[in-house]
Symmetry: none
Subunit: 395 residues, 2 copies
C-alpha cells in the first residue's frame, strides 16, 4: 500500500522520555519546554505502548516498535545487542556472544567477573585475543572490548546461518564455586556453532593461562541476526540514522537504514540532519542523555536534558519536515532508576491533524490527545499516512 | 452468543463525516447541530478507526467494518464495487470487471479513455453490446453503463465460483502507445474465466470496429463476490438497508440485508424508515451528500449537509429505537478533498450509557467520550449488547 512522493519524515527519539512524578510533576512536566509545548498545541498527541501493557522494553524492542516492526515478532538477542553497542557490524553469517572475563581455578569459577578488572586492562587482554585467535575451524573471530570485565565476540562463518543457529545455552553457571557449563546446542543448526564455541573457550583459556584474574571466559546471550525485512522494502523510505551511540546506529542498521558514524551531542546530530536533509526522506534522530540521567535516578538532570533538547527544537522545526514525530523508545522514570512499562508521550506534527487539544507536552496532557494510547508499531504507518505515502485500502 | 428479543437498532451512516479544521474548526464543529449536540450529551461517544491506524478506507471496507465484519479479512474487489455502484446484483456465479472504452489502432492503445466520450454515447454503445453479446462460451454477460468512458461487466457462469476465480491481471497497459495486455490468470481457478474474458474482448472489438473512438475496451479490477457470512447468521438481525445510492445498497446486499430500491434524499430515507419500522429489527440508513461535499473540498457545503441532517434527526429519535448509532464510514476532510485515515466521531444512544461526558458532537469532544478510540468492527457487538442481544460470556 506504500506509494512514493517527495515528503520528508523526521522521527526524534528522546531515549527514556516518559517519567513519573516527584513532588507532583514528571520530569517532562518539570522541564522548561516552551517549544515542545507550542508544538504539542498544534499537533496530534497521544501516548504509545512500546510493547504492551505492563511490558518494560529494552532498547532493542523499544526501537524496533518505533521503526514499525512488531517487537514480539522480531526479537534481538543479547549477544547481537551487545555487539551492536560496541560498534561491530553484524551479518547473517555471524553468531554474537556477550562474554565476561572470569577467574577459574581447578575447573571451578571462583570469580564470575574476574574481580571487575579495569577497562584498560580488559582492553589490552581483548586486543591480545584478537591478535592471537583469528580463526577456529571454519569460523573467523571478531573481538570487541567493552567496559570492565565485558567484551563481545562474533563467530563469523562462511555461509549465512539459519535463524536458530544461535540457540545455545549460556556457559555462565550463575554462581561461584561451580564449573563453567558447556555451550549446549538447543537446536539442530546450533550444533556446529556450539562446537566452535567450545573450542574458542579452550583456546582462550590457553592464551590467558598466565593471567592472575582474567584467565577464562563465560559466554552468554548467544544470538544470530534476526531476519527483519528492510525499512526500504517495508515502507519505501530511504532512511538515515543520526545517532552518536553505536548501539542505536546498530539497531537502525538491522533494518537497513544508512548509519554513518557520528560524534558529539545533540547539536552535532542536528547539524548532521541539516547537512544530509536533501539526501534522504526519513530521518531517525536519537537523543541519548535523557535516558542516562533517568537510569541514574537524577530527576533534575533528566529534566535539564529535556529542556536542553527543547532549546534546539526550533532548528529541527525550521526544516519544515512534512511529518515530525517526537517521542521516546520507552519510559525511564528517575524514580525507578531504569526502564519502565509506562506509555510514552508522543507528538505528531503534520498539516492533517486536529490539534488544539493538548495545552503542553507531558504524559498527562497527551492522555487527552487525539491519538489516544496506542501500540508503538502503529506510529510509522500513521506517519506515512500523514506524509501521503499510503494508498487507500479497498475501493 | 447472540440472543433474540424485540429491540430495534438504527445505524445512521453519515458518509465521510469526520473532518479536519479550517480556521480552527472542523466541518462538524462549524455546523449548526443542536440536535446532535443534545444527543451526544446523553449518549456514549467516541471515535472509531475504520480499518486501522493510518489506513484510509474505501467505501467497501468502511461499511464492512460498520456492519461488524473485519474489513481486512473480507475484501471487496474493485470490479464488484463498481458493479454494485451501477446497480447490478452480483451472485457467487459472477466475475465482475470495471471496463473503460479505449481507442486502439494497429494493436496499440492510443487513448485509454476513448477521448472521455460523453455518458450518453457511452450508454448507447453499452446497450448495443448488451443486445449483441449475450453469451460467450458457457458465461452469460451483463453490461451496465457508467459515466463517460466507463462501464461494468459481469461474466455469469453456470456454477458458483471458487473465491480465487477472479484473480486475473488488468488488461490496461497503464500507458498509451502500448498494446492492451491479455487477461492473465493468477490462480488455477481463474484460467477458464480469463479465457472467456479474452473472447469477450475480441467479440467486443468486432462489434465496435466501426466506432471512431470507443473501438475497444480495457478491463481492470476482475473480482468475484467475497464469501461473507450473512448479517442474519452473524448477528441474528433482520436488517433493512435504506440508501438511495446503489453502491451502498449493494454493500448491504453483500451481507444479506434487504435492499429495496429507493429514490430521493434524506427526507425520503427517513420516511421509508418510518414506513418499514415494524418489519425489521436493524436499520442501516445511509446519508451520502456529506461525503460528496468533502470530496469536492467544499467545507461550507459539507457543514451545511451535516446541519441539514441535524434538522431531520428528531424524526429518527422520535421512533425511540432501543439503540441509535450515528457515525460515518470514514473521514473525508474538505481540506484533503478525499477519504482519510482519521478516526470517525460516533454517538451511541441507549438506556445503558454513562453520558454527561461530551458537551457536543465533534471530533474533539468525542475524544473525551466513554467509548474512546476503538476499531469500527466493535461497534456492532456494542450495539447488540446495548440492545440486550448478547448473552453473558462464560459462567
Amino acid at each position: 500500500m506504500v506509494q512514493q512522493n517527495s515528503t520528508k519524515i523526521v522521527l526524534v527519539v528522546l531515549d527514556g522520555l516518559g517519567g513519573l512524578p516527584l513532588r507532583g510533576k514528571t520530569e517532562l512536566e518539570a522541564a522548561d519546554t516552551p517549544n515542545l509545548d507550542a508544538l504539542a498545541r498544534e499537533s496530534a498527541c497521544g501516548l504509545h505502548l512500546p510493547v504492551g501493557w505492563g511490558i518494560t522494553p529494552g532498547s532493542g524492542p523499544g526501537h524496533l516498535g518505533l521503526f514499525g516492526y512488531d517487537p514480539v515478532e522480531y526479537q534481538i538477542g543479547r549477544g547481537v545487542l551487545e555487539a551492536l553497542g560496541l560498534g561491530l557490524e553484524i551479518t547473517r553469517r555471524d553468531v554474537a556472544v556477550r562474554c565476561n572475563y572470569a577467574t577459574v581455578r581447578d575447573g571451578v569459577v571462583i570469580d564470575r567477573r574476574a574481580g571487575r578488572i579495569p577497562t584498560e586492562q580488559s582492553r589490552r587482554i581483548t586486543e591480545k585475543l584478537g591478535r592471537e585467535i583469528k580463526r577456529i575451524d571454519h569460523a573467523d573471530l571478531v573481538f570487541a572490548p567493552g567496559m570492565e570485565h565485558r567484551f563481545a565476540l562474533l563467530m563469523r562463518f562462511s555461509e549465512p546461518l539459519d535463524p536458530a543457529a544461535g540457540m545455545i545455552g549460556d556457559t555462565d553457571p550463575q554462581k561461584e564455586g561451580m564449573p563453567p557449563l558447556s555451550p549446549e546446542p538447543l537446536s539442530e543448526s546450533a550444533r556446529n556453532v556450539a562446537d566452535v564455541a567450545e573450542r574458542v573457550i579452550k583456546k582462550i583459556g590457553e592464551v590467558l593461562k598466565a593471567e592472575e584474574k582474567a584467565n577464562s571466559i563465560l559466554m552468554r546471550g548467544f544470538s544470530s541476526m534476526p531476519h527483519i525485512p528492510t525499512f526500504q522494502a517495508s515502507f519505501g523510505l530511504n532512511a538515515l540514522a543520526i545517532a552518536t551511540y553505536p548501539m542505536y546506529r546498530g539497531l537502525a542498521r538491522l533494518v537497513g537504514m544508512s548509519t554513518p558514524a557520528l560524534e558529539g551531542g545533540v547539536e552535532e546530530e542536528i547539524a548532521f540532519l541539516k547537512q544530509r536533509y536533501h539526501e534522504h526522506d526519513f530521518f531517525f534522530l536519537h537523543v541519548k542523555k535523557i535516558d542516562s540521567y533517568g537510569e541514574d535516578g537524577n530527576f533534575e538532570g533528566k529534566a535539564a536534558r529535556i529542556a536542553e533538547f527543547d532549546r534546539l527544537l526550533p532548528e529541527i522545526v525550521s526544516l519544515r519536515p512534512d511529518v515530525l514525530v517526537i517521542t521516546g523508545d520507552h519510559s525511564t522514570p528517575a524514580l525507578m532508576k531504569g526502564h519502565s512499562w509506562h506509555p510514552v508521550p508522543l507528538i505528531m506534527k503534520s498539516p492533517y491533524v486536529l490539534g488544539g487539544v493538548c495545552s503542553s507536552f507531558s504524559e498527562r496532557e497527551c492522555l487527552k490527545g487525539e491519538l489516544g494510547v496506542f501500540p508503538a508499531v502503529h506510529i510509522l504507518p500513521l506517519a506515512l499516512a500523514n506524509a501521503g505515502r499510503l494508498k487507500k485500502f479497498g475501493a
